[in-house]
């Protein structure tokens, strides 16, 4: 392929959005073409420049409360409910039966999915709930020497709490979560203006080691050398979360082992 054909693909290659075949073609071309390599370097530098800058605007602190107040004043307070009550009783019974059936199936599927994927629903739910209620931290500290010992006596295992501030992932704090009956440690790290929750638990099941998208969030799991199970949840995209995992575990999974 010529440079003319490769150049429009360089951005997608950097964004890891190309399919395997096209990506391989780009990589092969870059191996022999200093021109396109320089072009890719320029794109990479632009991306780094964008990421180093505080471009993301966080919502003003009072906006959430203002929105809640406005919603509470809304007359259509039941608009959030999925169920609509039908006029005829026969329809009502049919509806009730089908809801019950759907609920039972949903519960089964939810349980199966949760156990197969490993806490995906619990992890996402915890992530969302912590941010909706604003209760991200029970211990707020950027020091691993404060956060790590805080978990002693609160969970019966000792999670790894590495200091990743130099790598651009500052520690922000931690809290305890519950996944069903299991206690889990939640570590909160920052990345630019985003946050990452890392859930840690004992006794399996393991979360997926390939990135999973769930309701707009990315989840990425691993098993620690300490035998504990970890999953990172964030609204960051997969490549950045994988970089986080690389730094957290000190293992580069993209390299041949």
């Amino acid at each position: 392929m010529t440079c003319e054909q490769i150049r429009p693909l360089l951005g997608s290659h950097l964004d890891e959005e190309l399919d395997v075949v096209h990506d391989a073609t780009v990589v092969a071309h870059l191996d022999t073409c200093p021109h396109c390599t320089r072009e890719l370097q320029a794109l990479t530098e632009l991306r780094r420049t964008l990421q180093r800058s505080p471009l993301r605007r966080a919502a003003p602190v009072d906006l959430a409360a203002q929105i809640r107040r406005q919603l509470a004043a809304e007359p259509a307070a039941h608009a959030g409910r999925v169920v609509r009550f039908p006029r005829r009783w026969s329809q009502a019974f049919a509806l009730a039966a089908s809801i019950a059936l759907a609920g039972a199936i949903g519960f089964q599927l939810g349980r199966m999915r949760s156990e197969r994927i490993g806490f995906t629903d619990d992890a996402t739910a915890s992530f969302v709930r912590a941010r909706a209620t604003g209760r991200l931290y029970e211990v707020a500290s950027s020091s691993q020497h404060t956060v790590k010992p805080w978990f002693a006596g609160r969970v019966d295992f000792s999670p790894a709490v590495p200091d990743l501030a130099a790598q651009g992932f500052p520690l922000l704090g931690g809290r305890v979560e519950r996944f069903g009956t299991r206690p889990a440690a939640a570590l909160v790290y920052g990345r630019r203006q985003h946050t990452i929750d890392v859930y840690v638990w004992r006794d399996g099941p393991a979360a997926s080691e390939a990135p999973v998208r769930e309701a707009g969030f990315t989840l990425l799991g691993w098993k620690g050398e300490d035998g504990l199970f970890y999953v990172a949840v964030s609204d960051l995209a997969a490549p950045e979360l994988m970089e986080f995992r690389r730094q957290f575990t000190g293992v580069d999974a993209s390299l041949p082992q």
Partner: protein
């Protein structure tokens, strides 16, 4: 006690506000639009089938912002770009490497703000919000190929704006 709507949608408040800010370019308009978007989302919530709540909400935020933009007539969204017609005629073929420049944040902010809105929004959604191409396509309502080409053009323009007159001072 938070409702299902609040539990699902409030975590995306920063994403919503950030998009509104970059579309409307001032805090008060962004606030107003985000509030209106949440109200619309609340009323439409029964139609939300689960899945990507962020993309669903951002679509609403975007629509509210564009309605606002058109009403204020500050800047209309650019005309659909016809790749075949306009191609890359007016733009340099290459990016120049930034690494020897110290880019100050204010300049970067201004350069991003100055981009045409259709290029700015895909860049913001991708680089700042971290949406995948597929998600951007859904929020903006354009094909995947158009996401790629707009991102490409946005990066080219931004790079050019950042190097600006200083480019001639740097001898490669």
């Amino acid at each position: 006690m938070t409702s299902p709507f609040e539990q699902t949608m409030l975590p995306h408040l920063d994403a919503a506000y950030n998009l509104a800010h970059w579309l409307l370019r001032n805090e008060q308009d962004a606030r107003d639009s985000v509030q209106e978007a949440y109200l619309r989302a609340f009323k439409a919530f029964h139609g939300f089938r689960g899945g990507d709540g962020r993309a669903w909400l951002l679509t609403i935020v975007r629509n509210v912002c564009y309605t606002h933009l058109r009403r204020m007539q500050r800047q209309l969204p650019t005309e659909p770009f016809d790749e075949n017609q306009h191609g890359r005629v007016n733009e340099p073929a290459e990016l120049a490497v930034l690494d020897r420049q110290e880019i100050d944040h204010a300049r970067l902010d201004a350069a991003l703000t100055a981009l045409p809105v259709d290029l700015r929004e895909v860049l913001v959604l991708h680089e700042i919000e971290g949406l995948a191409y597929k998600e951007i396509a859904a929020v903006v309502g354009i094909p995947l190929g158009t996401v790629m080409s707009r991102l490409s053009r946005a990066r080219l323009r931004l790079n050019r704006a950042l190097l600006g007159p200083a480019q001639s001072e740097e001898c490669p």
